[in-house]
Symmetry: C2
Subunit: 404 residues, 2 copies
């Protein structure tokens, strides 16, 4: 008999019938002798409707009141889910974030969980209930309602699993796990059975948006094992755990790709301290989110600095750097859209050489030109033309033996 | 500078634009130098939508979870109203029932307020906020969400006014006060400026459903003066207060009518102790709601007992009394639908004789036959054919000088 936390996202609870399906699944798990806590999101579409209402009453809704408003979405789902379990003959009880003891800081709309006092959940489990907790929300020490921002319900589930010392946390979603690559692009892509937190983080930050990085980082920090699986079938999903020695035998766990990237090169940047910080501080202060940064050694006192970002971020950047570049005495700014990023990820890279070489060889077979390269301990990433990203993904997938 | 509690019902906050109007009204009151607490209901239609969802997930939704579900309706309104005030340049903060310190018993869907600890409201008022409280809801000592049942938002407003010792509680609604009779039936009906709690109670229980009796009783018990007025104009409304000696000068305050009544007569009921209780206990146990009861003195050891109810209640009663009547040895049960009740109400009746006589004379002028009569200290009520109720109301209104 285990203690299991199951999280159901907005699409999994999107209609009354889907809520009844979730209830059936909860009862099934309970029927196997386990203690069950469910964390649920707002029904899909509800959050958008609430935001629309907010915009209709106010040009700039206050963040405190946005939290009061948006938290009704999950509150609606917990009540409906508990009713459905009851109607199917089970015993369930709902808890809002505040009632579940989820305490956060006071940063409305993107609060951080500071602690969880789960005695109420424990008591209700002891009374034989399936406990249904509202995801995405908590309250401050002084009792104000807060929400956790994007991916907040995943975070609630992981945090509750940590606080309860649950045996497993299952993240139910509309995909049935993490794949070696997007199967729509690489038909031979396979579901990954087990992946380490670090690999999952690199996959997530490279565009495999099964989960927000934030929740994976939280799980890693508190050593919460979790499984990503589908709420629409009974297939086993992908389990995410701390790495084990055996994992290193697989050199590359998966291939991840991110489209709609842009690259910016600043030419002839003088090679002296403080120049790079001027550039990136300016971007950070304007909340322009940068991905890769590449700077090579300087030749004759200057170098080129390149970085990448989403195309939307490029639009946000605009002419922000024009003055900076003039002040520091650098050359031209060259912007290029229509590029994409391909990453190969795997903790096995640390102990295996030749990963970069193999990737470059694979791409050269397809005559694909590499525009930028970065590497981390467990990831090798390249920037290529967006038009070539699909064939590049297939070539890399095959080269690293992931088709098998 | 006064402390004012204003309550806005579902139609007053039914759209984003109406919510902005409410916000304007709150700011206007605040701008006059007053401290303002607003109590708001769910936007009209929202509660019905939530109930529909509940029925879609469960054949018989649990009452605890219904409360969790329904309370989101008011929570949505408080957030939107606070945002609207903020957008219009004011300072507002929202509180759920629980946050406002409204503690109730644990009878879900029809909880009773047990106490209010308003220190948070006080603090927020001291900080210069317009405080927006969710009507209709509270929480138990152990932190479960509860709702107060029908008319619950009025009750919240009155209870908060009592706890804060507010100077006045204004109930904003879609009518602009209590009238001497329904103006659609009696065109000469006038708005009543001031009415006593008891008169208001008799008017309410006789079909003038401006407010639930429950809230009026609560106001009377805690001596909370309140005003019923329209949220769609600036006309003064009707103020409801403890009676003053001067009020007795008006013999009849208003004429109230209730349609779709039914009367039931049980003939030849044996005149011995316990017989009436058998009949009415049977009805009470089946939750059939009775209005008037009339029993005359017995002749030759038996009497006729008559009572009235809504037509829906008659349907609910069905053949419930057939066995009882046989057991106690009474005669036939005669049921008649298509009757209506006319009541004249006024605390002046206590010190003025001839009210009943004047009413009967007025009805006889219209050749209206009186089928039943009951009187209380401040009300005289008759049952007549429903087809004659409108002309009866006009005749009574004129006879008691209310047209003036």
């Amino acid at each position: 008999m285990a203690l299991i936390v199951q999280k159901y996202g907005g699409t999994s609870v999107g209609t009354p019938e889907k809520i009844r399906n979730v209830a059936r699944r909860l009862l099934e798990t309970k029927g196997q002798g386990h203690s069950v806590v469910a964390v649920v999101s707002a029904m899909s579409g509800v959050t958008d409707s609430l935001l629309k209402l907010a915009r209709e009453v106010s040009g700039s809704p206050t963040e405190r009141e946005l939290d009061v408003l948006l938290s009704t979405g999950e509150q609606t789902t917990i009540a409906l889910t508990a009713m459905a379990v009851d109607d199917l003959g089970g015993k369930a009880i709902s808890l809002t974030g505040a009632q579940a003891g989820i305490v956060t800081d006071g940063i409305h709309t993107k609060a951080k969980i500071s602690n969880i006092t789960p005695h109420r959940i424990h008591k209700m489990l002891d009374d034989g209930n399936i406990v249904i907790v509202a995801g995405f929300q908590g309250h401050t020490d002084s009792g104000a309602i807060t929400t956790l921002g994007r991916g907040g319900s995943d975070l609630t589930a992981i945090a509750i699993a940590a606080a309860l010392k649950a045996d497993i946390c299952q993240i139910y979603t509309d995909v049935d796990g993490v794949y070696t690559c997007d199967p729509r692009i690489v038909p031979t892509a396979k579901k990954i059975e087990v992946i380490s937190y670090d690999e999952m983080l690199e996959m997530a930050s490279s565009g495999s948006k099964v989960m927000q990085s934030r929740s994976v980082e939280f799980a890693k920090k508190f050593q919460v094992p979790f499984e990503v699986r589908s709420s629409f079938n009974n297939n086993p999903g992908t389990t995410v755990i701390e790495e084990t020695p055996g994992m290193e035998n697989v050199v590359v766990r998966g291939v991840s790709l991110e489209r709609k990237q842009a690259k910016v090169t600043i030419q002839h940047v003088p090679d002296r301290p403080g120049v790079a910080s001027r550039i990136f501080r300016t971007l950070a202060d304007a909340h322009v989110i940068i991905d890769m940064i590449v700077q090579n050694v300087s030749i004759e006192g200057s170098t080129d600095i390149s970085f990448t970002m989403n195309c939307e971020e490029l639009a946000k950047m605009g002419h922000l750097l024009d003055n900076v570049v003039a002040e520091i005495g650098a050359g031209k700014i060259i912007k290029k859209e229509g590029v994409a990023k391909l990453s190969v990820v795997g903790i096995g890279m640390r102990s295996h050489s030749g990963v970069a070489a193999k990737l470059f060889e694979a791409l050269s077979q397809g005559s694909i030109n590499i525009q930028m390269i970065t590497t981390s301990e467990i990831k090798t990433a390249v920037i290529i033309d967006e038009s070539e990203i699909e064939s590049a993904a297939r070539l890399a997938h095959t080269a690293f033996g992931l088709d098998a």
